[in-house]
């Protein structure tokens, strides 16, 4: 018996306002998957587009969306991880703190950036920068684009899991507005370490998943070549994420995809960011934090039977009478 479904699924009920209704005033965002201009691509096409090496990566976006970006380096304890970039910049005249995962546009650059797969020190750098954002009341913008956290032995030695858990914790109660933009690939926990915010936006052709389609195929179908089938089952494309409520709205890409026109993509991102930061900066921090808590609290579709209220206790004389009647029979 399904008596109560607690869920983050949208739409909750026909006729009721969609939970992203507060974003409606912001021009240019896609709030419903039916608004997609070119219809939907197959999940596997979405995976290929999100991974396209010519897609705008974090620094491409930062250079076009923000002014006067000054990069900040290092986690103050081990080294500077080139797979995560961050610093202070101006967004339409307002100082903000921006942190993003950086992939390369060529093989050499990808080797330097470790293909956008951060080490623990990368996440610790991010945590340090989150702290600066809170301390100096700077809105935080994060740009997610990673196949996942680096799974190598040195990353394990330096506590990859702990660094991700700490980054998620730091974001969950960071007393400043946070806007997350998923640029390309949102690879599991390694992406979530930059992915907890008041508003989560995604580019139209981005993906976000709990495990890579190849990884899922290897486990579920015992063959990495079944990745296409796994991608279909996983609902990882941006329109699916919008329907699940994982992201609040999509940022439209130019015809042909973000990789065909970095400038147009950046303009769309900038419009969205300016509107969101303007709106969030007017919300008192306490409300911001409680709304952020509730946003993530709501995820998880579960079935819960009604709590059984104990039957009202009968009066003592009725209980006595019942007892007498029963003994007589």
């Amino acid at each position: 018996m399904i008596d109560r479904i607690v869920g983050g699924l949208r739409p909750p009920a026909p006729g009721s306002a969609p939970s992203n209704g507060h974003l409606a005033a912001d021009a240019g965002l896609i709030l419903d998957s039916s608004q997609l201009a070119r219809g939907r691509v197959t999940p596997w096409e979405a995976v290929q587009t999100a991974r396209n090496i010519a897609r705008p990566h974090a620094l491409d976006v930062i250079g076009r969306v923000f002014d006067r970006f000054q990069e900040l380096h290092g986690d103050r304890s081990f080294r500077d991880d080139p797979a995560i970039v961050g610093g202070i910049a101006e967004l339409a005249g307002r100082p903000v703190l921006v942190v993003g995962q950086q992939k390369g546009a060529s093989t050499e650059e990808n080797i330097l950036r470790n293909f956008g797969m951060p080490h623990p020190e990368g996440y610790r750098k991010a945590i340090r920068l989150y702290g600066l954002a809170e301390k100096f009341h700077l809105p935080l913008v994060t740009l997610v684009d990673t196949p996942g956290a680096y799974p190598g032995p040195e990353a394990e030695e330096r506590g990859q899991a702990e660094s991700i858990a700490s980054a998620i914790r730091a974001m969950s109660d960071l007393a400043t507005p946070i806007v997350v933009v998923i640029l390309g690939e949102g690879g599991s926990g390694g992406a979530l370490a930059l992915g907890v915010g008041d508003v989560v936006l995604a580019l139209e052709n981005s993906i976000y998943s709990v495990i890579s389609p190849e990884g899922a195929a290897a486990i579920l179908f015992r063959s990495a070549s079944e990745a296409e089938r796994a991608a279909r089952a996983m609902k990882l494309a941006a329109p699916d994420l919008l329907e699940l409520g994982i992201v609040d709205a999509l940022i439209p890409e130019p015809t042909g995809g973000a990789h065909t026109d970095h400038d147009a993509t950046a303009r769309a991102i900038k419009t969205a960011l300016v509107a969101q930061i303007d709106r969030l900066s007017r919300v008192p921090v306490a409300d911001l934090l409680s709304t952020r808590y509730e946003r993530f609290r709501a995820f998880g579709t579960i079935v819960e039977p009604p709590s059984e209220a104990p039957a009202p206790r009968r009066r003592w004389w009725r209980r006595g009478r019942d007892l007498l009647l029963r003994t007589r029979i």
Binding site: G7, I164, G189, L192, R297
Partner: protein, 256 residues
């Protein structure tokens, strides 16, 4: 030669080599909770199928099979108990249920446990045993990491103690969320604890991994667990730490 009865008598620890076999959730509760002190909460929460997920079988069939096998609705048991005399909120994961994977139900029960610990100012103890986030619930499972960690951040801000015990195995999204964040992090000897699967890691570097990689002792050496505690001392050790921590905001009138 190892006899089953002998193994049960020794809490699932081999008397010859000290190997710690996996414990089921029921045996784990018997080990940690004081006799007759455990009362379960949220026992009936069950998983729905947010994605309509089908691999070789539909997800609801997998859940039904796991429920039939374990007699539980999902991969975690939560409730109130006393551990070495200290009242706590206790959560114990069950690896037998779909590899202890975290979907909506595990996330919800951990979050509720943390919220109850906060409301009642009782320490929270979580025993982790999990392969990670549950693939069949996709990004909804991923979001459980953010949900549980947010609840624990509130618990930490209120000064309520939180102890985690990492047992064999604790990996992936569970280790990368609540399992790593205890004020005290304990591990059982020899337990496999790591972020990514050893097979993935060895494929990444294209060579075999050294013995002991991602074992409890490896994490101790690298500074990510406080102690590796043999199973027969676990309860007493948790009790020691909880007795040493005074819960902020707890009513102390009766202790004067």
């Amino acid at each position: 030669m190892l006899f089953n009865k002998q193994l049960v008598r020794h809490l699932g620890v081999c008397t010859k080599c000290g190997h710690h076999f996996k414990l089921g959730a029921t045996e784990r509760l018997e080990l940690l909770a004081d006799p007759r002190s455990f009362s379960e909460t949220d026992a009936d929460l069950a998983s729905a199928d947010p994605l309509g997920f089908v691999d070789s079988r539909p997800y609801p069939e997998r859940i039904a099979a796991a429920q039939a096998k374990t007699g539980r609705t999902d991969a975690i048991v939560t409730g109130d108990a006393t551990v070495a005399g200290v009242p706590v909120v206790l959560a114990v994961m069950d690896f037998e249920f779909m590899g202890g994977s975290m979907g909506g139900v595990v996330g919800e029960k951990v979050t509720r446990a943390a919220e109850r610990a906060l409301a009642e100012r009782k320490p929270l103890v979580i025993v982790a045993a999990s392969g990670g986030a549950r693939m069949q619930e996709g990004t909804v499972a991923l979001m459980q990491m953010a949900k549980t960690v947010a609840a624990l951040a509130r618990l930490a801000a209120a000064g309520v103690p939180f102890v985690t015990v990492l047992t064999d195995p604790t990996t992936g999204g569970v280790l990368a969320s609540y399992a790593s964040l205890g004020d005290i992090v304990l591990a059982e000897p020899g337990a496999l604890i790591g972020f990514s699967g050893a097979r993935v890691t060895s494929e990444t570097i294209g060579e075999k991994l050294p013995t002991g990689f991602q074992r409890a002792e490896f994490l101790l050496t690298h500074g990510f667990v406080d102690q590796v505690v043999p199973r027969d001392q676990l309860k007493e050790r948790i009790g020691f730490f909880l007795n040493a921590f005074r819960v902020a905001g707890q009513d102390l009138r009766w202790s004067l």
